[in-house]
Symmetry: C2
């Protein structure tokens, strides 16, 4: 049996269970019961199924501690990073501040997003008024939205700008909600979005000037062994890279070695 053979609901439960075993190193029926509101019997069944799936490195029951303990060589069924597993490790109260730093979340207008989404779907151009920090609000322009992207901080809109004759990244929040949002079909095919369809392979190395020992720490911290750390993204998103990775700050511990481009 495979994880994918299961129904969505049970698969979710087993993945949760798997994460508990991976990051806590232990798990109980109670964890499943509290998290999913299922009965003890079902939780017991889930454990049976999990054990049958994890045949290579099954967890063992420790009657003294009354929990299942992950095997030393535990192999996660579904790989996960620590960041994604954070909520498994923390337990926040309702009325106290959370244990994670709040993010600078940009608010977005529901209706604007929906209109953009529908323009993407139907391949229409939209008339919008856009405000940039530098030049202020424009008088309205036609754009052809193609997709949503993210720089990890906020959501961007990738669109062809007829005004500038090129593809650009827009922040949906800066689109005036009172724009006309007039629609029109795109008469002649849009040019290819070359930057989007170009793979950018960025090679990073510990910052010049770090001691050997410090460089070693940086390598372990970012999980690479050799000289370089390879990160892959799209050329269209590369602009955001340095800020997102903090390469432009004083305390940066990584720097770019080189960047390769190849069409996708």
């Amino acid at each position: 049996m495979k994880l994918d053979d299961l129904k969505h609901a049970q698969r979710e439960r087993l993945i949760f269970l798997d994460r508990c075993l991976t990051w806590r190193g232990m798990a109980n029926r109670k964890d499943l019961i509290d998290h999913f509101g299922i009965s003890t019997a079902q939780a017991a069944l889930d454990f049976r199924v999990y054990l049958s799936l994890a045949h290579s490195t099954p967890p063992t029951y420790d009657p003294v501690r009354k929990t299942y303990i992950a095997s030393i060589e535990h192999e996660p069924l579904a790989p996960s990073g620590l960041t994604e597993a954070l909520d498994i490790l923390t337990s926040d109260d309702e009325d106290t501040p959370p244990s994670a730093l709040p993010r600078p979340e940009r608010k977005a207008d529901r209706r604007t997003i929906a209109l953009l989404h529908q323009a993407i779907r139907s391949g229409k151009a939209l008339h919008v008024r856009y405000t940039s920090m530098s030049s202020g609000t424009d008088e309205g322009q036609w754009i052809a939205p193609t997709r949503f992207t993210s720089d990890g901080e906020s959501v961007h809109l990738r669109a062809h700008s007829f005004k500038h004759g090129e593809y650009r990244n827009y922040l949906p929040i800066r689109i005036d909600p009172d724009s006309s949002f007039e629609e029109k079909p795109i008469d002649k095919p849009l040019p290819e979005d070359v930057d989007w369809n170009t793979r950018a392979i960025i090679w990073l190395r510990p910052k010049t000037g770090l001691s050997d020992e410090q460089a070693k720490v940086v390598r372990r911290e970012f999980g690479f062994e050799g000289e370089w750390l390879r990160v892959e993204t799209r050329k269209a998103l590369e602009f955001f890279f340095d800020r997102r990775w903090g390469l432009d700050t004083v305390g940066a511990r990584l720097e770019r070695a080189k960047t390769d481009y190849e069409p996708i």
Copy 2:
């Protein structure tokens, strides 16, 4: 009927449906079927239930476009930010780079995390070797882990350091996986973690020097009307705040006005 009365599985489906209606402004049975692998009949039932829950601002079916369209005044059943809803708006291929910029994910050692978690649970002190960028690897020290936290970038460990006689934030990745991890009970009660139990209320305002128009954009972008934006966190996490919000960079558009502290 309330959303909370439903079983976990169906609640998940309705929340997904709700997000589609909120951010796409439209939804189909097919969305549910593709995302959860349920039958058309079940998807139809889910729509019935959703409509009964969203009695105040129900979506309507548009036979021309063959989809449900969210009401203009659509009220989400479960509020969500745009960032969380990003995956609803994007559709990534398997073998092309994703449409989101990769994050600088720190790798973490499973076993180390599990040991820390278990020490937190059982209230034990642990002997670890810690490497800091400045002072290099120490010879080992006793710490009393209390909880995991996050600065939004990577996961931290909050622990009482016996060596320094105070609570500190540690990066689990910098704990040597070959530490002894010797356990010992905590003999006398730990002091209160004052910084953790202090609420930090940070008041931000558009950066001095911005034009009125620019300030207006910033206000809309971060979703506040009046003079200040109020952000709440814990004093123990405040150290990470400026970096996370980019207040320390050249292009910052927000600055701190003041900070209030109050015990939790």
